[in-house]
Structures are given as C-alpha cells and as structure tokens.
C-alpha cells in the first residue's frame, strides 16, 4: 500500500525566480523521507508539486512509475498534511476524518465506523463527536493524520506539521509519526527546517538550499559525511576553518589554515591546491591534555563557557565567523577558566572533513 515517488529533472520557476532547480531523486516505497532546509529553499514547492497543487516548469513527477502530469491533487494517491493542519472547523471531528470517504460516496454508517477505527489508531476514539476547537494542539495534529490516512494514500506528504507545537509535544509527536508510518507502511515525505526532526524520524534525508538538492543520504551519512559546506553547517553545529589543501594521502589530506596545518578526511570534490573548508563538530573537539595528544591542535584564548546540564560548551577565539566551540562532558573545572586564558584545543583527522570552498548555511 505504498508507492515510490520519482522526481526527474524537476524545476519550478515563479517568474524570474527559480524555486526548485533540476531535482532528480527517487523516494522509495514505504520510506520515511525528509526534505530538510531553511525557509525559502524550495522544499515546500517540491511537496506541492508532488501533491499536484503546482506543476513543474520542467521535469516529471512520477508516483508508482506513473507520470503525474495533468493529474490534479484530488486524483493523486497522495494525502497532504498542512502546516496549519487545515482541519474543517465547522465539522465535528469524525466528519473531518471521514471527509475523504464522504467524497468517495461511502455511506454514513460505514463512514462513522471507519472514522472511529482511524481515531483509534491515533488514540482519539472518545473525541469523535467533539468540535475541532475543543481539541488541544496535539489532538488536532492526530485528527489531521487520521483524516489523511482515511483516504488510504500511498504517499503521505507532511508540510512541517509539528512546527506549531511546543517542544515536549513535538518530541512525542515525532515518535508518534514514526510509529504510524511503520504501522501503515505508507511512504512518508516530510518537510522540515528542523534538523532534529529530520535526523530522528527519517530513513533518508534530502538537504536543500536555494532550490538545489545538496545531498541525499541516511541521517548518519548526512551528519558524518556532509557533501557540501552548506550541509556541514546546516545539519548540526560545526567549527569551520578555511585554507588551501596541501598534501593529500589517500582519504586524508592537509589543509593550511591561518591557525596551522591540519589533517582531515577529504570530502567530495576536495583536491590539492584548492581553496577549501575544514569542518569539525563541537563534540569532536577536545580540550586540555587530550587536545595536545591529538594530531591536530591549537592553542586558543578562552572566551566563555555555557553550562547545558549534561554537557558544557567551551568557546575560544578563532574559527571562521564565530568562536571555536568544544562540547564536553560537564566538568566543574571548565567553569573556572578565566577569559583570555590559553586553552589547548584539538581533534582527530578522522573527525574532520575537508570540503571545497562554498556557501555556508546562514545563521
């Protein structure tokens, strides 16, 4: 009961502006796939092209191998969950859920029965006769999911549906969505600007920037092996150093930065002699004695520390655009460091990735 979705050279222009640029990608049947990117990156445009509300300027969208050109949103095997949910406020909950069945000419008794079953899946059986306005944010969320499931879609499209919820509920709903996806086996295509959501829920992620699909991969691949500086800086935190690539030795290479020469893994397209960027995750930065033992190290002036409970972020001068940050387990001695104090920092070559110079994600 699920279908693959293929985008073949899909481009969408709005006047002079190109919202989506030549995206080619196959989303597998039964997969939980997320499009991740900042607002305005074109991810919603992609979703609306899959659902049929807008047509590609170029290229083809196929669902289950079938060309979707000329097929309206009401005829596609997709169901869309809107960012604001778009529940029908003038219908009771069960009629909302049963609306797709009503459209298909299902009788009233049967509609009611199916609506109750679906409300059972999302654990809202008691609310069938309530008005939408009486429900909490999380409950409305689940009604929207039930309403979309009612039409037995082969592809479920979700447009940042969790963005309006508070943190706790959002985390609960992430697990809930994942559970529903696994239980129903429907292909889920999820749009988000929240990397945490994308990383926790998805089988694969497509990272987008300015209409271009930057990288497609599992959460682990996207996080550990970013393909472009944008991905490296948008997904998770990263310390960035710039310089020129020097000697290369197999998968490792050297980069000459203003702080010194560091060794890191050579990423996609990184070649000797070219301008490049080195990315190190804060949790891979070491400080103190452990840093001096690491192959790459520097001495930086400590600026401040942020106590986050289970860990501490330690900041020091240097790095591109912002201070270098190291994330370490909470250690009371770190909080006694004085500003300006010399602090050894370092990292292992395998924890750093070198990529050709490019655009970073905006802060």
């Amino acid at each position: 009961m699920s279908q693959e979705v293929a985008l073949e050279g899909v481009t969408r222009r709005f006047g002079e502006f190109t919202a989506v640029r030549n995206v080619t990608l196959t989303i597998r049947a039964g997969e939980f796939f997320s499009f991740l990117g900042p607002s305005g990156c074109g991810k919603t445009t992609i979703l609306r092209m899959i659902s049929g509300f807008i047509d590609p300027s170029d290229g083809v969208v196929r669902i289950g191998g079938k060309d979707m050109r000329g097929i309206g949103p009401n005829k596609r095997p997709t169901a869309l969950i809107f960012q604001n949910l778009a529940l029908f406020p003038l219908m009771p909950v069960w009629q909302n859920v049963a609306f797709g069945l009503e459209v298909r000419g299902v009788g009233k008794a049967e509609r009611r029965k199916r609506a109750e079953e679906l409300l059972g899946i999302v654990e809202l059986t008691e609310s069938a006769d309530k008005q939408v306005a009486q429900l909490s944010g999380g409950q409305r969320q689940r009604v929207a999911i039930a309403r979309a499931l009612a039409v037995e879609p082969q592809v479920m499209l979700l447009d940042e549906p969790l963005s309006a919820l508070d943190l706790k509920l959002r985390q609960y709903m992430r697990a809930e969505l994942r559970r529903i996806q696994q239980r129903t086996g429907v292909t889920f295509i999820y749009i988000t600007h929240d990397q945490g959501e994308a990383l926790t829920m998805s089988d694969r992620i497509g990272v987008m920037s300015q209409g271009v699909l930057q990288q497609v991969g599992t959460p682990l691949e996207v996080y550990n092996d970013p393909a472009t500086p944008f991905v490296a800086s948008f997904v998770g935190e990263a310390n960035v150093f710039t310089g020129r690539i020097g000697a290369a030795n197999g998968t490792l290479g050297q980069i000459e930065t203003e702080h010194g020469i560091y060794t890191g893994r050579l990423g996609r397209g990184a070649r000797s002699g070219e301008q490049a960027m080195l990315f190190v995750r804060p949790e891979h930065m070491r400080i103190g004695a452990a840093a001096t033992a690491a192959q790459n190290h520097m001495t930086a002036a400590f600026t401040h520390a942020e106590f986050e409970g289970s860990f501490v972020n330690v900041f020091s001068e240097g790095g591109l655009r912002k201070p270098v940050v190291a994330q370490t387990r909470s250690d009371p001695s770190l909080l006694r460091l004085q500003p300006g104090e010399a602090l050894p920092m370092g990292f292992d070559p395998t924890d750093a990735v070198i990529l050709p110079f490019g655009d970073l994600a905006r802060e």
Binding site: L80, Q83, N84, F99, V103
Partner: protein, 294 residues
C-alpha cells in the same frame, strides 16, 4: 457614562445625550408608534375623530385577506423578492469567491470599484436604462434576433421578469460585499485540503466554502430581500400594469386613496413579511444575530 462626563464635561455630555434621545424617540420611535396607532383605526373624516366610531379595529389588516387582488400582489412581492434574492446569490457567489480567493488584491480592488461605480448613478436612471434595454424594440431583442436566438421580439416587460431583472441588477452588489467579506476570512488551505482529499469542486463549495460563508450569505439575502420587497422605483418602471408590487399599493392607499390607516396597516404587513424572512433565514441557516454582526 462617567468617562464621557470626564472627557467632555457635564454640559456637552448632557447636550449629546439629549440630541441622541430626541433623535431616537422623536424621529424614530414616535413616528412609528403614530403609524401603529393609525393602522388600528378606521379611516374617518376629521369631524368623526373622537366620536364613538373612532375605536381600535383589525379591519385594516383584514383588508389584505379580503381583497384577492391585493393578496395576489402581496404573494407576488414575496416570491418575486425571494426569487430576486436567490438570483442575486447565484450571480454574487461566484464573483465573491473569485474576488476573495483567486484574484490578486489589485484585481479585487478594481473589480469592487467597478461594482460600486454604477451606484453613483441614481436608481431611477439605472432602472430606466433597463427599461430601454428590455423594451420591445430595444437592444436586447435586437441583439438576440441578430444572433438568431429568437425569431420575433419578446415582450420582456410584460409580467414580472423585467422587475426581477432590474432588481438583480440593482441589488447584486448588496450580496457581493457580505459574501466577499465572509469568504475572505476562509483559510485557503481548507479549500486545498478538501481538494487533496479528493473532493470535486461542487463538494468543496457545499461542505467547506458555503458553510463558512453562511453568515455573509444570510446578511446578503436579508439585505437584498428587504430592499427588493420595499423597492418602489424598480417595479413602478419595469413592471407591467397587471403585475404591481406591494409597495405600489401602499403608495396608492396613502396618496391616491388618502387612507392613511389602511396604508399604515399594509406597510406594517410588509414589514412583518420582511421580519419573517429575516428570522426565517436565520433559522434555516442556523445563524445568530452575533454571527451576522461579525
């Protein structure tokens, strides 16, 4: 009240309150009460006023049910106004929906202006324009014959059709604005959600747009119906002699019959008809006064 006094002083506040009171009581409530009093009295010569023949009676109201011609006119006014209201809704709804949901703000502004401009011309001129259009040798018959739709001219102005056409033209704008305002507040995503769930166009409107626009539709229907039922100029110009409107009969009682009590009674019957329509609409559409006030 205290705020008013603090802000404007005792004298000015008193003057404003007095003015409001005089206006409300002297110019609104009292004249109506006088008319109500008239409507329950027989039409007497000045000499008989105050005599024993001067007593309250339902006679003036009963006239309508005794006079078959007047009763037919009353019913015609009822169904004619209802039909004009329905036709106005049919014309205005698509326009309002288009303006609210599909047009760009600039297009909507231009369109609404174009709708309003004809109303800067007075009603008599507008109605006479229709008289000319619908005339036996008028442009409508000419165009239709040229196109081969009709073989010989049609007498559009016999019967009530001329009146209905004139009223739809004159009052559609009273329907467009409330419906437009109501549709404007509809979340576009709801239309898309219904479409995404497979709904064809008619069901989107029937289940999502119309329920949402119901208060606006109710207001529009009330405005058009009361305007149509109370219209004098349109029927007096566009109706055939045999198809009068109830307002014309009221006019005749007052000015030609010089029978004010009878005229007052008929006027209140028309008011009653309109009130029944207003509350009937509110019942049918399950809309409260507070919804309408929105």
């Amino acid at each position: 009240m205290k705020q008013l006094v603090d802000r404007y002083g005792l004298t000015l506040t008193g003057a404003m309150l007095l003015a409001t009171f005089v206006w409300l009581v002297g110019m609104v409530i009292l004249p109506y009460l006088v008319m109500v009093d008239f409507s329950f009295r027989p039409n007497l010569l000045p000499a008989d006023v105050g005599s024993e023949r001067d007593h309250y009676t339902f006679d003036n109201y009963e006239t309508l049910f005794r006079n078959e011609i007047h009763f037919v006119v009353f019913l015609r006014t009822l169904w004619g106004s209802a039909l004009a209201t329905f036709l106005c809704l049919c014309v205005a709804y698509p326009v309002a929906y288009f303006l609210a949901m599909m047009a760009t703000p600039a297009q909507a502004a231009t369109f609404l202006l174009l709708l309003v401009i004809p109303f800067w011309i007075n009603e008599i001129l507008r109605t006479f324009a229709w008289f000319i259009i619908l005339a036996y040798n008028g442009p409508l018959n000419g165009v239709l014959r040229l196109l081969g739709v009709i073989a010989s001219p049609v007498r559009w102005l016999s019967g009530s059709w001329g009146v209905i056409a004139g009223m739809v033209y004159a009052y559609t704008v009273f329907m467009v604005f409330p419906v437009y305002n109501a549709v404007l507040t509809l979340d576009r995503n709801q239309v898309e959600a219904a479409r995404d769930l497979g709904a064809p166009l008619w069901r989107i409107h029937w289940r999502v747009v119309i329920p949402h626009a119901k208060p606006g539709i109710t207001v529009g229907c009330i405005l058009v119906f009361t305007a149509a039922a109370g219209s004098y100029i349109v029927p007096s110009i566009l109706a055939a002699p045999g198809t009068r409107w109830f307002t014309e009969i009221i006019y005749q009682w007052f000015y030609e019959g010089q029978n004010w009590p009878q005229g007052s009674a008929y006027a209140f019957l028309l008011l009653l008809l309109c009130l029944v329509f207003v509350f009937g609409m509110m019942r049918i559409f399950r809309v409260g006064l507070s919804d309408i006030a929105r």
